[in-house]
């Protein structure tokens, strides 16, 4: 029994949410509570299953828990799932965030709850699949399939100019990914009819081939990250999305882009990367500074956090471009950190929104008086977001910058370090406006502080913030071997 689970654990993890969705399809749509509990149960089950990965992960490089089965034989597509140190944590991050998001949604979603929870579960499977697939075609399937539930989540349950935001999110991402598809087809032929990543890694591609393919892949990932100047879909999507959507978007979906860079664009096309990295690193640094500056003048809380995401992911991309053990490990770690911190921020803003129905900073003020507990939690997350040592954000940013510094991108690292100052500026500015000072208006008065359900949502995130800040080695030691292999592959060229 155990062996069977161990061998099929990845399939189990991926398809548990989907199976949950299929079962959910037949549950009576009039009972909201049934869906809430069912979805929470399914996501928790997925999380528990994913813990199997953490416990039985052997701290080494290479694929683990791999499943390779023929699938579409005429097209050379395999049902190939595996995790390594990089994807392991992203999988766990996803399974970790989803129950939280579900629990949060309990209070936030009233109308059309059935569709909502089904979409969440489908999205869950999509995200997990994208992180686990090691067959490019399979990966692409999940990569695209993810868009639909997210699109609906924004479009149906969002607010404001949600149609524009959802459509822009969808079309923008799709434009990038279709070109990647062509690149994948080319590599498929080049590898003699295989989509397996491991077959692609040993290909001997010419420089010009690498260039075109790198371009196609990177464009797709860069949109998803997003790298400046391909970012304008993000603030809109974040602002109009429902809180749960924002949490997933910031927590997991943006990581798809950086994950794609680590998994595909960089290792597959090392020569092209070798020529392109200063450009991308520059864009990343521009993103850090630019994102911070623009965040500084936002009037909407969610927009502010969205722009801060651009800056944070700029760090991740910079770390990936510096390409040494420290910076890469830091970058992968920072993906997780950003997932936790930004996820928590959006969650908190969501909780605020359910109370006040406004996102404009100007409408707030003096919340620290009325909502002391909420304020405390928000401050902790804020300091994680501005990378205070002792929190998770610091470890990631520090490793990225330290690694970048001793690569040949040290000048970039210096400029990027300015982001450390700027992040404090915009976040504290926002905190000051929202929580301090006198109360903005009487309308904010009868607010209730965090309830038990909300505590249950936010507490795991707080624990992660501190744990990942003080004992990062638990995570790093699993990431590092995979990164090391990558660095070695590249230095072999």
């Amino acid at each position: 029994m155990f062996n069977w689970i161990d061998q099929n654990i990845l399939s189990l993890i991926i398809f548990t949410p989907l199976a949950g969705a299929v079962v959910g399809l037949f549950l009576p749509s009039s009972q909201r509570r049934v869906f809430e509990i069912w979805t929470l149960f399914v996501t928790l089950l997925t999380f528990v299953l994913s813990l199997h990965l953490v416990f039985y992960f052997d701290n080494g490089a290479g694929y683990q828990f791999a499943i390779f089965k023929p699938w579409i034989q005429s097209l050379g597509v395999q049902y190939a799932l595996a995790v390594d140190g990089i994807s392991l944590w992203l999988v766990v991050l996803t399974t970790f965030l989803m129950p939280i998001v579900t629990l949060f949604s309990w209070g936030a979603v009233g109308e059309r709850h059935k569709a909502y929870y089904l979409l969440l579960l489908i999205l869950h499977t999509g995200m997990l699949g994208a992180f686990m697939a090691v067959d490019a075609f399979f990966f692409y399937l999940f990569w695209e399939a993810m868009l639909i539930p997210m699109y609906f989540l924004i479009g149906i349950y969002g607010h404001g100019d949600k149609i524009k935001a959802a459509t822009k999110f969808f079309i923008y991402t799709v434009v990038g990914s279709v070109l990647m598809l062509l690149g994948m087809i080319y590599l498929y032929f080049r590898a003699g009819g295989s989509f397996l990543l491991q077959d692609w890694l040993v290909l001997d591609l010419s420089t010009s081939e690498q260039w075109w393919l790198f371009l196609a892949f990177t464009l797709s990932f860069a949109i998803k990250v997003p790298i400046f100047p391909l970012h304008t879909w993000l603030p809109e999507a974040h602002t109009q999305a429902p809180a749960a959507g924002s949490v997933i978007l910031a927590g997991v979906l943006l990581k798809m882009g950086t994950y794609g860079l680590v998994r595909f664009a960089i290792p597959l096309f090392p020569q092209a990367y070798d020529q392109a990295y200063p450009v991308i690193a520059s864009l990343a640094v521009v993103g850090i500074i630019y994102g911070s500056l623009v965040a500084m003048v936002q009037k909407d809380i969610k927009k502010l956090i969205a722009y801060s995401s651009i800056a944070h992911l700029g760090f991740v991309v910079l770390g990936l471009m510096a390409f040494n053990e420290q910076s890469m490990t830091g970058a992968v770690y920072q993906m997780l950190n950003h997932g936790v911190s930004s996820g928590a921020l959006f969650l908190l803003v969501g909780m605020l929104y359910t109370r006040t129905h406004t996102q404009a900073i100007a409408n707030y003020g003096g919340l620290a008086k009325t909502l002391p507990l909420f304020t405390f939690v928000f401050m902790v997350v804020t300091f994680s977001s501005i990378a205070l040592p002792g929190t998770n954000g610091f470890v990631g940013e520090f490793m990225i910058l330290a690694g970048t510094f001793y690569s040949d991108l040290s000048l970039w690292a210096i400029v990027a370090s300015l982001g450390v100052i700027l992040s404090a500026v915009y976040m504290l500015w926002m905190v000051e406006r929202v929580f301090f000072g006198k109360k903005a208006g009487e309308s904010l008065k009868p607010l209730k502080d965090l309830n038990l359900r909300e505590w249950l949502c936010i507490l795991p995130l707080l624990v992660m913030i501190v744990w990942m800040g003080l004992k990062p080695n638990f995570f790093l030691e699993k990431i590092e071997p995979a990164v090391k292999t990558l660095v070695e592959i590249k230095s072999a060229f």
Partner: protein, 477 residues
């Protein structure tokens, strides 16, 4: 004796069954009450099912591909019966004759798919077209229906004239009407140009039927006027049959070109590629601004035709790639048929009564009024847009793969970009249904009958099945 009869009849079994069935069904219009429309519907179902019986035994068709196309056509015929039944049952004027016309359309399509004889092909084409001309005008109270019928008829006749002219050139030059025989004739050098013109005129006639740009102008107008299920039939069966025929004929023409028969150089691949790019561009871009669902689907059909043509422009150099190409085209057509049938079925079911559900505005807030229908419709539209794991994606993927293999980078990049743009207009109905609130003019919408629901679920399973396990079709050949 019986065996002899069987042997002589069996090759034509499907045609005979359909023809006879059409007559019987026509006569059932004499019945009274509910049976007046139910009986023809059931009988047409029976006839279609019976006709399929003969496909694998001995058929006048050549090649397994033709069998599959025929099966697809018959399948579409069967699955569209509930759509016709529900649509016409709800109308004051029941028009039971429509089922007999449906059978004739299938009959025509089968002939088109099966034959290599040009004249026989024209017969098939005309049986199909004439039936559709009539069907397009069935909504007599609606002027646009009449306009649609008339337009279709006039333009169809013009196209037919050119096709026949091409045919006469070919016959005049080669003295043959069967392509297999024509391939063996030697063409005198002075007639080569005429022969080429013949080929092209013939092909252009077919391109008219598949609504390839720049011969597509009829499609949006005709689609819009015709009754909803008839539009569906046009979108599905006509495309299936015409593309199958086009594939078959191109196969011959390419072969001649390839073998340098009579020194013919036609650059057919370039010609097809041109049609393909034009179709993709025009279909996609024009669809962006449509306010009518039917017109939107017409343009989307044109764009889909563009992708199929992209597939048809590749792979004629090598024999094994030829297989892959025809596989890809077959897969695309079947996927397209399934998805379109789904869309039109839902739309037909919602269009019962005097009012057609055609304006995109009418879809506003549909998801609240009619969650099930909206979910079905959204699913089909999203599949058409080409999102995995639905088959719309797999179909496009196979075409792109063929094109990349042939090194057609430019056209393929153009195609994928167009498909990305296409997402926009496929999302428009979804936005209307799900993201926007109900418009003021709320129409009472019917519930989906169980039979139709079964069909729709079947189609969804087919879409997912084809998308996830394409080997079902691909591995067979």
């Amino acid at each position: 004796m019986l065996a002899a009869i069987k042997n002589s009849i069996f090759p034509f079994w499907p045609l005979l069954v359909l023809l006879g069935g059409a007559f019987v069904t026509l006569m059932m219009g004499l019945l009274k009450g509910r049976a007046r429309i139910l009986a023809p519907a059931l009988s047409s179902l029976l006839v279609l099912a019976l006709s399929a019986y003969g496909f694998f035994e001995a058929y006048f068709l050549s090649g397994s591909q033709s069998i599959l196309y025929s099966l697809a056509v018959v399948g579409v015929g069967i699955l569209s019966v509930p759509m016709f039944l529900d649509y016409f049952q709800a109308r004051e004027e029941k028009v039971p004759e429509v089922f007999s016309l449906l059978l004739l359309v299938v009959l025509g399509a089968l002939v088109m798919i099966g034959t290599t004889h040009l004249l026989v092909f024209i017969f098939g084409l005309e049986i199909l077209s004439l039936s559709l001309y009539v069907m397009a005008g069935l909504r007599r109270e609606d002027l646009r229906s009449a306009e649609s019928s008339l337009k279709y008829f006039i333009l169809g006749s013009v196209a037919l004239a050119f096709t026949l002219m091409g045919l006469s050139f070919l016959y005049g030059v080669s003295g043959q009407l069967d392509l297999n025989l024509m391939a063996e004739t030697v063409i005198a050098p002075e007639f080569v140009t005429l022969f080429k013109i013949g080929i092209f005129l013939f092909l252009l006639g077919l391109c008219f039927k598949v609504a390839a740009v720049p011969l597509h102008f009829w499609a949006p107008d005709v689609y819009q006027g015709a009754p909803m299920p008839v539009t569906g039939l046009m979108a599905v069966v006509v495309k299936l049959a015409s593309f199958a025929a086009l594939l078959k004929f191109l196969f011959f023409f390419y072969l001649w070109e390839h073998q340098q028969i009579a020194g013919i150089s036609l650059s057919l691949d370039k010609f097809v590629l041109f049609l393909s790019l034009a179709s993709m561009a025009v279909g996609t871009l024009a669809a962006l601004r449509q306010k009518s669902v039917k017109r939107l689907l017409a343009y989307s059909g044109i764009a889909h035709g563009g992708y199929i043509l992209l597939g048809l422009s590749t792979g004629w150099g090598q024999a094994n790639e030829l297989m892959n190409t025809s596989d890809a085209v077959l897969f695309y057509l079947i996927s397209y048929a399934v998805m379109s049938l789904g869309v039109f079925t839902v739309l037909s079911l919602l269009s019962r009564g005097s009012q057609e559900l055609d304006s995109l505005e009418d879809l506003k807030g549909l998801s609240k009024k009619h969650p099930l229908a909206s979910a079905f419709l959204a699913f089909f539209f999203i599949s058409m847009a080409g999102i995995p794991p639905m088959t719309g994606f797999m179909a496009k993927y196979l075409i792109f793969k063929q094109a990349i293999y042939q090194g057609l980078w430019g056209p393929t990049i153009f195609a994928v970009l167009m498909s990305a743009v296409a997402f926009y207009y496929y999302l428009v109905p979804v936005i209307r249904m799900y993201f926007q609130e109900e418009s003021s003019s709320s129409v009472e919408l019917p519930k989906l009958p169980l039979g139709a629901q079964a069909v729709l679920v079947l189609l969804i399973l087919a879409i997912l099945g084809l998308g996830i396990f394409p080997d079902v079709i691909l591995a067979g050949f």
